[in-house]
């Protein structure tokens, strides 16, 4: 079905490879949502698939599909922008394609094992072949090693192409950021009996990915997209990008401290984590302002020159990128700041507050811009001069965004109740936990999360349908 997305208008093999990654990413995105629906339903009806497909399995596949579809979409985005930025074909497209098939096959095997084997005995063999049991990076060790090999091939491809071609500022940031992103994965590939040590290094990947290197990745991607879609001036965009790097890394690297409040690490992380993570929303405000400012400026200049119509050459991509700019600020920035201070976090840590923030931030900061890249890919693949939103594009954008926002608010309400009753009133523990879980206000929040999850899924169906059809339709309209 996804093969119906044609790529023959693309000049570069690297971009076609990017499209291959995008196709897999869309499938995994759908899988993520289905697993989320199962897990959400189990909160309401705990007997659903009990001891057949338990919450732990649904939830593991839910978050792993999330991480992997984003990594696929990120790799795809880099392969897609690489020839545009460097002006040349990727140096090793053949081996890049081989790596794509290896990675896709490995992911398939890992997911099948998650679903059908689920858990293993308490031995090293389980860690090596079934799952590592560490949230987000559950992939068994053999797959870890495979991922490292594939990522090395990818990175070599990007780096060598960068050295050979034009070295733009956007690509410089991208190359440096990818090195850090890939290197950090290595900190999660060992076993220790010390749970505090385990979580100390676990956060080096999880935090330094999603609150530092991934954010810079998004900054570079947005910069590339603004140049392509609205014809923003490269000098301005690149200057913004360096300022964003400064602020994102300046706050995000030491912001890691906000995960070190309660895992056995020393008390000085309270001050460091609170200060730097409280600064983390600042670059996200800047990024939002930057996108809107550049858009307004280009539109205004076009207007002044007497050019009628929109300055956008890709409506759906810009729609998703603006949603990203605001969603990143709201989901990662505002929702993150809600519970980042230790005085608050001692009560909210490990409650539905975190789930609320997780949903809004992954969607707002990452899903949105990567979907924007899918539309950029479609535009290039069909050689469309001006890609306009269809009804399906609008429904996809509106329903998924509305659904995720609804889930975030619903979980926040459940989380608020959980924090007050379980943590504030009853001080945690087994009885405290279940007392809070069974109060009507909590269940009501979970019910609304389920409803909004279905809304999100309907939005995804529109989105996928649009991605499959918009290119061909626009091409026909263009040729007519």
């Amino acid at each position: 079905m996804l093969a119906s997305i044609k790529t023959h208008e693309l000049k570069y093999e690297s971009q076609k490879l990017g499209m291959m990654y995008f196709r897999v990413a869309i499938i995994l995105f759908g899988a993520q949502l289905l697993m989320g629906l199962i897990a959400a339903f189990q909160f309401l009806v705990p007997g659903f698939l009990f001891e057949i497909f338990d919450f732990s399995v649904a939830r593991m596949v839910h978050i792993n599909a999330l991480i992997v579809w984003m990594l696929f979409a990120m790799i795809g985005s880099v392969y897609y922008m690489l020839p545009d930025e460097t002006g040349i074909e990727a140096v090793g497209v053949g081996i890049g394609k081989l790596a794509f098939w290896v990675l896709t096959a490995a992911v398939t095997v890992v997911v099948l094992v998650y679903i059908f084997v689920q858990v293993g005995a308490g031995t090293e063999a389980t860690i090596w072949f079934i799952n590592e049991g560490r949230e987000y990076i559950e992939a068994p060790r053999w797959a870890d090693i495979g991922i490292v090999v594939v990522v090395l091939i990818f990175y070599w491809n990007v780096f060598a192409t960068y050295l050979k071609g034009t070295q733009t500022g956007i690509m410089t940031v991208m190359v440096a950021d990818l090195m850090a992103l890939a290197g950090l994965y290595l900190t999660g590939m060992f076993f220790t009996d010390n749970i505090t040590m385990d979580q100390f290094w676990w956060w080096w990947i999880v935090h330094l990915w999603v609150e530092a290197t991934w954010e810079v990745f998004v900054g570079a991607l947005a910069a590339y997209a603004l140049v392509k879609i609205i014809g923003a001036k490269r000098e301005i965009v690149e200057m913004w990008l360096w300022i964003e790097v400064l602020m994102l890394f300046g706050s995000g690297i030491l912001g890691l401290g906000h995960h070190y409040f309660w895992i056995g690490t020393p008390e000085y992380w309270w001050e460091i984590g609170a200060l730097f993570s409280a600064l983390e929303p600042v670059p996200l405000v800047a990024m939002f302002v930057h996108v809107l400012y550049d858009w307004g400026k280009e539109q205004g200049e076009a207007h002044a020159k007497g050019e009628a119509g929109s300055v956008l050459n890709n409506g759906p991509a810009m729609g998703w990128i603006v949603t990203n700019a605001f969603g990143n600020f709201l989901g990662a920035g505002v929702w993150g700041f809600f519970h980042t201070l230790p005085q608050v976090n001692i009560y909210t840590h490990g409650t539905q507050f975190t789930a609320s923030h997780g949903h809004l931030s992954f969607y707002g900061a990452y899903a949105t811009i990567l979907i924007g890249m899918f539309y950029m890919g479609i535009q290039g693949a069909y050689g469309i001069d001006r890609l306009k939103m269809t009804f399906k594009s609008k429904m996809g954008l509106f329903l998924t965004t509305f659904g995720v926002l609804g889930m975030g608010v619903a979980l926040l309400i459940s989380g608020y109740e959980q924090v007050l009753v379980e943590r504030g009133e009853l001080g945690g523990g087994w009885n405290a936990y279940f007392t809070a879980q069974e109060l009507p206000w909590y269940i009501q929040g979970q019910l609304w999360r389920m409803i909004m999850g279905i809304v999100t899924f309907v939005g995804f169906v529109y989105l996928a349908w649009d991605l499959l059809t918009i290119g061909k339709q626009a091409r026909q309209a263009q040729e007519a």
Binding site: A121, G122, V245, L246, G264, I346
Partner: protein, 223 residues
């Protein structure tokens, strides 16, 4: 850009250099702090426990001691208190035995994917209770319901029995599934939980299970 009077604030090289310096400085500070932290969170030894040396993460033989979680005026929060020796599954475990048991327990906790329902040290999924201080949960104490339910007379045996056959002992509609945990693995998991409860988590969770009994009896703090 060749004009000399161009402001530094619109100069790309200035922002590039600033970004590099800030990133470098933050990274160096993080690495320096990490070295300090790694020293403080490395696991203690049996000697430390014998000599009463407080470690943030005690050695595996902490399973041979009574563990409590008490309010410390100095810290302003609860801290783990390691007390007198007490038998664990009816015996005292040697350094090697305790280390082996903790190793089995930690491996099993990962192999059974505990973290995708429970939270450990507050991290994980939110479908089941936090396990940070689960060893100290009143549910498992002599006065709590679980020892009678599982027909065991000690906390550790009750937890182990529950872990092997969790869906036989339901307390709520939401149950723990049978994960094929063996009796040996269950002992390891209990050791892992007991060890985790001895870790100094800066007072998380706060007021652990303090007022549950009061709440269940319909009491309030206002009386």
């Amino acid at each position: 850009m060749a004009k000399k009077n161009v402001s530094v604030w619109t100069s790309i090289p200035f922002w590039r250099r600033s970004a590099a310096w800030v990133t470098g400085f933050a990274t160096i500070l993080l690495i320096w702090l990490s070295f300090d932290t790694l020293g403080q969170i490395s696991m203690g030894t049996d000697e430390d426990l014998k000599n009463g040396v407080t470690k943030r993460v005690p050695g595996a033989t902490v399973i041979n001691y009574n563990i409590d979680y008490k309010y410390s005026k100095k810290r302003g929060s609860e801290v783990p208190v390691i007390g007198d020796k007490e038998p664990f599954f009816g015996k005292e475990w040697s350094v090697d035995e305790a280390a082996g048991l903790l190793h089995l327990g930690k491996l099993t906790s990962q192999a059974k994917n505990c973290m995708n329902c429970h939270t450990l040290l507050g991290n994980g999924a939110y479908y089941a209770p936090d396990l940070t201080k689960a060893w100290l949960d009143p549910m498992w104490s002599a006065a709590g319901p679980m020892q009678a339910m599982t027909g065991k007379s000690t906390k550790e045996e009750a937890i182990a029995e529950f872990l092997v056959n969790p869906s036989q002992y339901p307390t709520h509609a939401r149950m723990m599934p049978n994960l094929g945990i063996t009796a040996d693995e269950a002992v390891g998991l209990v050791a892992f939980l007991k060890h985790m409860s001895s870790i100094d988590t800066n007072g998380f969770p706060r007021n652990f299970s303090k007022t549950v009994e009061q709440f269940k009896q319909g009491g309030t703090n206002a009386r």
